[in-house]
Amino acid sequence: MSHAGMSPLFGEAKEVGAGQYQGRLEFAMGGDWIILMHVTLSDGEKFDRQENVPGVAAN
């Protein structure tokens, strides 16, 4: 969530194919969401990626 202090959601992505991972997140509210991916490779190397998901509409 782009607002400081708003509850984040957590999910885990599972490998569904070679180099392909799939996970499920259910946004708790409308607004601008940001997905932060914390990745650990098989050799132990870690890195982060960010994906913006703007304008999620509330139900």
């Binding site: 969530m1 782009s2 607002h3 400081a4 202090g5 708003m6 509850s7 984040p8 957590f10 509210m29 409308g30 607004g31 601008d32 940001i34 932060l36 960010q50 703007p54 304008g55 509409a57 509330a58 139900n59």
Partner: protein
């Protein structure tokens, strides 16, 4: 003067509780550097917020500037105001910087006579609310940091040029928020015994103390906000700076308990302020405070985007500012003018009040302050409580970014109090605000219309009920926190 109570609203025979007489606290409050002691940690935190806002993560939930400003500071502020008083002005870090600067630059100008009112600060209050929406301050560490920097610079500019506490009294929007909110606080800086003041020949509480001639150096300031303690009523314009406490040669000023909001029910001539009922500027500030609470909460629920989209189509604009301007005008000018005008008209015609419509509207507007405060409480306590522990991982992250590992990896799963606990609290705050407003308005109606107090009461109770219903409706709307809209 000696037999005149400093706050005619408080009529209990029981001696009030005095925070300054609590063992341990008494010495602390009387310590000359107590304020500085509180200000230094907040100044350090402010500097850290600025640095993290400018150079730290651009993502608001991971940044100290946004997290501490929009989650923790606002929430802690309203809860302290509810439970105690205006202690945040006491610990204000901006004043510490200003006091240091005044050691080098002595201001020589008096604040302009035409600006000795709340019009400017009410306008700045609106501007802050507008900028919050326009620039999505909650989602921008960079803008939030510059807001804090701007605040420091403005304090230095205003109080560097003008004498006394001109910034606090006539400019600071946060201060005005605190002044109004503290009218419903349970504590007040107040004279203990009016007879002692009656016998006092020096009036140091307002004049301050100077060293002996020929130097005449100020060794203790009196009240910089022109509040003469024996005639001070309530918390309006009081920063709890305790200058009067330190200046009083008779140790006759304490932090006393009182009935919250009782100062709103009476209309005496207040030192440094005058009569509330004659202060249109102060009433305008109370309107911004009360209706702005709704406006600020409206900006974070889903229906606002439907309304904004509809306005954008009508106005043929894709820019956010004109749409927001229309919304602000509707909710902070048109809506209050209609509601308060109709209620004042009904009070005059139906309730038989002798006052004209405008003075009636001005007088009763202060009755909405408890409800407005309840709305701010419900809103800010939501962010504060649901995000209470987020300061831990954000701090861990900031420290880790400097290469220091002693706080460990950020625990992003630390959140706050669950919604099932927070939501009933929010309802409780709103109900408390409504009860406070109804109580104040009822007392005003009794004073205003001796023959038909209920007829004077009902129109204003209806306005309060309407605002309360709007607040409850807002609370149950789906939340929607978008930093951008109208795009594409």
């Amino acid at each position: 003067m000696s037999d005149q109570p400093s706050n005619p609203a408080v009529t209990s025979d029981l001696p009030p509780f005095d925070l300054m007489l609590v063992p341990g606290l008494a010495r602390l409050f009387h310590w000359r550097h107590f304020r500085t002691f509180l200000q230094i940690p907040l100044l350090i935190v402010s500097v850290v917020m600025i640095l993290d806002g400018l150079f730290g993560p651009s993502l608001a939930p991971k940044n100290l500037a946004t997290t501490l400003s929009w989650v923790h500071f606002r929430g802690a502020l309203v809860l302290v105001l509810l439970c105690a008083g205006n202690f945040f002005c006491l610990a204000c870090p901006f004043m510490l910087v200003r006091n240091v600067a005044r050691r080098f630059f002595r201001p020589h100008l008096n604040w302009p006579q035409k600006l000795r009112n709340k019009w400017l600060s009410a306008g700045l209050f609106v501007l802050i609310l507008f900028c919050y929406e326009e620039f999505s301050l909650w989602s921008s560490p960079w803008w939030t940091a510059w807001l804090i920097v701007g605040y420091f610079l403005t304090v230095l500019a205003v109080d560097g040029l003008f004498k006394h506490a001109s910034f606090c009294k006539y400019v600071c929007p946060i201060g005005q928020f605190n002044f109004l909110a503290s009218t419903v606080s349970p504590l007040e800086v107040k004279v203990r015994d009016q007879d002692v003041c009656g016998r006092c020949g020096t009036k140091d509480c307002i004049r301050g103390r100077r060293s002996a001639e020929p130097d005449l150096v100020v060794i203790q300031r009196g009240c910089e906000l022109a509040l003469f303690q024996p005639l001070k009523v309530g918390n309006m314009d009081c920063t709890f700076c305790l200058d009067c406490v330190h200046a009083c040669p008779h140790d006759n000023i304490g932090i006393l308990s009182r009935i919250p909001a009782s100062e709103l029910t009476v209309d005496p001539r207040r030192s440094g302020i005058g009569r509330f009922s004659q202060r249109k500027d102060l009433a305008a500030l109370a309107i911004v405070f009360s209706f702005g609470a709704l406006m600020n909460a409206f900006g974070m629920v889903s229906p606002v985007y439907a309304v904004e989209g509809w306005l954008a189509r009508i106005l043929h604009v894709t820019n956010k500012a004109p749409v927001l301007a229309v919304l602000f005008a509707a909710l902070l000018i048109v809506e209050p003018a209609l509601l308060l005008g109709m209620a004042a008209g009904a009070t005059r015609v139906w309730g038989g009040s002798q006052r004209a419509v405008l003075p009636l509207a001005v007088r009763y507007t202060y009755g909405l302050v408890p409800l407005g405060f309840g709305m701010w409480l419900a809103h800010y306590s939501f962010h504060f409580l649901t995000g209470l522990y987020t300061v831990i991982p954000v701090t861990q992250n900031a420290v880790a970014s400097l290469g220091w590992t002693f706080l460990g990896d950020p625990r992003w799963t630390y959140l706050g109090v669950p919604m099932r606990i927070v939501q009933p609290l929010q309802i409780g705050f709103l109900v408390l605000g409504l009860m406070g407003s109804l109580s104040v308005i009822h007392r005003m109606a009794q004073d205003d219309s001796a023959e038909h107090p209920m007829r004077a009461f009902i129109p204003w109770a209806a306005v309060s009920a309407l605002l309360f219903a709007a607040a409850v409706w807002l609370m149950f709307q789906p939340m929607d926190m978008r930093g951008t809209f109208l795009a594409g």
